[in-house]
């Protein structure tokens, strides 16, 4: 599905990612775990095309996408919910979804069916569709951001810190939603700093530190590796 092969990414002059490789298979949920500043967001930004690669390449469903602008990658079926949710604060939730409807018209992704699927994952969103993005709680924002990305029926969903700063009960609610998304046979790549949360949803886990993958494997077995545990716990 998604294949990242030895990429180097810079932010300005600073090299953030060093020969980073990872892959996400079909219907697979993969977590990228690391401390703040380890390179999780940079990895996601590289995948959606917000940062150019210095070397390496990224393929998606057999197609090299490293040279494409972000919106073309999105139209291929890469959904993204940013860390700050990226909602338009002046628009209501319904209007935020409306944007997806325009895009559905021009890109052929999404449509009625996917809207209904989204409603099934997040039934509570219908209670605040008329509220402005600005006035949503943190958890509501995250839900709307994921729902909005899901509207365009992606093949893979990239979630950047979806559980950060949320109350445990809300985290549980979101994890439940993520599991439902997984059941819809949509691949997931989740950047997460909390290993416990990551283990609740991940089929596979990558640990990242200083732009390098330091562990790759079963999320339940990472706890056995003391060195990795010390690093990702900071």
């Amino acid at each position: 599905m998604l294949e990242i092969s030895s990429i180097d990414t810079y932010r300005g002059r600073a090299q953030i990612l060093r020969q980073l490789s990872l892959s996400v298979g079909e219907k697979e949920a993969v977590c990228l775990v690391g401390r703040n500043g380890a390179g999780k967001t940079t990895t996601i930004d590289s995948i959606i095309g917000l940062l150019p690669l210095r070397s390496g390449k990224i393929t998606f469903r057999g197609q090299t996408i490293s040279g494409l602008p972000p919106y073309r990658r999105a139209r291929l079926g890469i959904g993204y919910a940013p860390e700050d949710s990226g909602l338009f604060p002046d628009l209501t939730v319904a209007e935020n979804f409306e944007i997806c409807r325009w895009l559905a018209e021009s890109s052929g992704r999404g449509g009625q069916e996917s809207e209904e699927r989204v409603r099934a994952i997040f039934p509570e969103v219908s209670q605040f569709t008329h509220r402005r993005g600005l006035y949503l709680s943190g958890g509501q924002k995250k839900m709307v951001a994921i729902a909005r990305a899901m509207m365009l029926s992606p093949f893979i969903l990239l979630l950047d810190e979806p559980f950060e700063g949320l109350a445990p009960v809300v985290v549980t609610r979101l994890i439940e939603a993520v599991r439902k998304i997984k059941e819809m046979k949509i691949s997931l790549l989740i950047a997460e700093s909390n290993l416990a949360n990551a283990s609740r949803v991940a089929d596979r886990l990558y640990a990242i530190d200083r732009g390098e993958i330091i562990y790759h494997g079963d999320p339940r077995k990472v706890t056995e590796n003391k060195e990795v545990m010390n690093t990702i716990r900071g």
Binding site: I48, L50, P70, Y71, G86, F88, D90, I99, L152
Partner: protein, 289 residues
């Protein structure tokens, strides 16, 4: 209570402040006793009536009587001889202001959006823009005249120039300051090119553009009246300096009543245009709550 029903409170306050201004003027003009600077209110009314062209006859027979009922001065005589009326002068100036806005606003918005959107365009154009913006618009008048002679162009070009340079900055910052994360959010939903620009960036820049437009109206008036005072035989600027050519103006004395009536007319015209802009902007930007 009934008053409250007739006027909403804001209107009432508005009227009160206008009445206070009028009362203050009357008080100052009666105390100061300098009709050459602060003419009495009757003079203003007379000048207004005369400039509106209500029943003015300049024929000699009833000239004395005319003097009695109507306001007269050297400036008024010159203006009347030239066939100047307040509404005529105002119409000419409004026409120039509207022309300046019609051409200058799209031009300025285009440049501003371009520079705001494209890093490359910004690198090339920004230094030129900063240089150009520093030139007072009226300083172009004589040079335009060298190219195009004495005509309408040297009055209109400075207005267009002033409006365009005023609109560049709000358009530029409107685009630049659309928080990057919204652009990212839209891009990650698959919006690129014209869709991103037309439906995300431009609407987001809307409030900045409206504010800029309101400034541009004021700047257009400043430049128009300035250009008319220097080089025009019609319009509000010409009315304020009393018609004729500069050489003759040094010899004739300005009529304060005409000037005050003219200034008040300019204030009202500017206010009306701003009100229209705000109302139209409010409709266009109704999503900004």
């Amino acid at each position: 209570m009934t008053l409250k029903r007739v006027f909403s409170q804001r209107w009432l306050l508005w009227l009160v402040s206008l009445a206070a201004l009028a009362a203050a003027y009357t008080f100052v003009s009666s105390r100061l006793e300098r009709p050459d600077l602060v003419p009495p209110a009757e003079d203003l009314a007379g000048a207004l009536a005369t400039l509106l062209g209500s029943g003015v006859q300049l024929s000699g027979a009833d000239h004395a009587e005319h003097e009695h009922h109507h306001h007269s001065s050297e400036q008024v005589e010159t203006l009347l001889q030239e066939g100047v009326t307040l509404q005529g002068a105002l119409a000419v100036s409004i026409g120039r202001v509207l022309f300046g806005l019609a051409v200058g606003v799209p031009l300025g918005i285009f440049l501003g959006l371009w520079m705001g959107w494209s890093r490359r365009a910004d690198d090339y154009l920004h230094p030129l823009y900063v240089l150009a913006r520093s030139v007072p618009p009226l300083s172009f008048i004589t040079y335009v005249m060298l190219w195009l002679g004495h005509g309408e162009a040297h009055r209109l070009i400075p207005v267009v120039y002033a409006v365009a340079t005023t609109m560049v900055i709000p358009a530029y910052h409107g685009v630049r300051d659309v928080a990057g994360k919204y652009v990212v959010a839209a891009q990650s939903l698959g919006a690129g090119g014209t869709l991103l620009f037309g439906r995300v960036v431009l609407p987001a820049a809307g409030p900045a553009l409206l504010t800029g437009f309101r400034y541009a109206i004021a700047i257009a008036w400043m430049t128009t009246v300035g250009a008319e005072m220097l080089m025009a035989e019609n319009g509000m600027g010409n009315l304020l300096v009393g018609g004729g050519l500069w050489s003759s103006r040094l010899e004739s004395r300005s009529d304060p009543a005409v000037i005050i009536v003219g200034i008040v007319a300019l204030a009202l015209a500017g206010w009306a245009m701003d009100a229209v802009a705000r109302a139209a902007g409010g409709r266009l930007l109704r999503w900004v709550r």
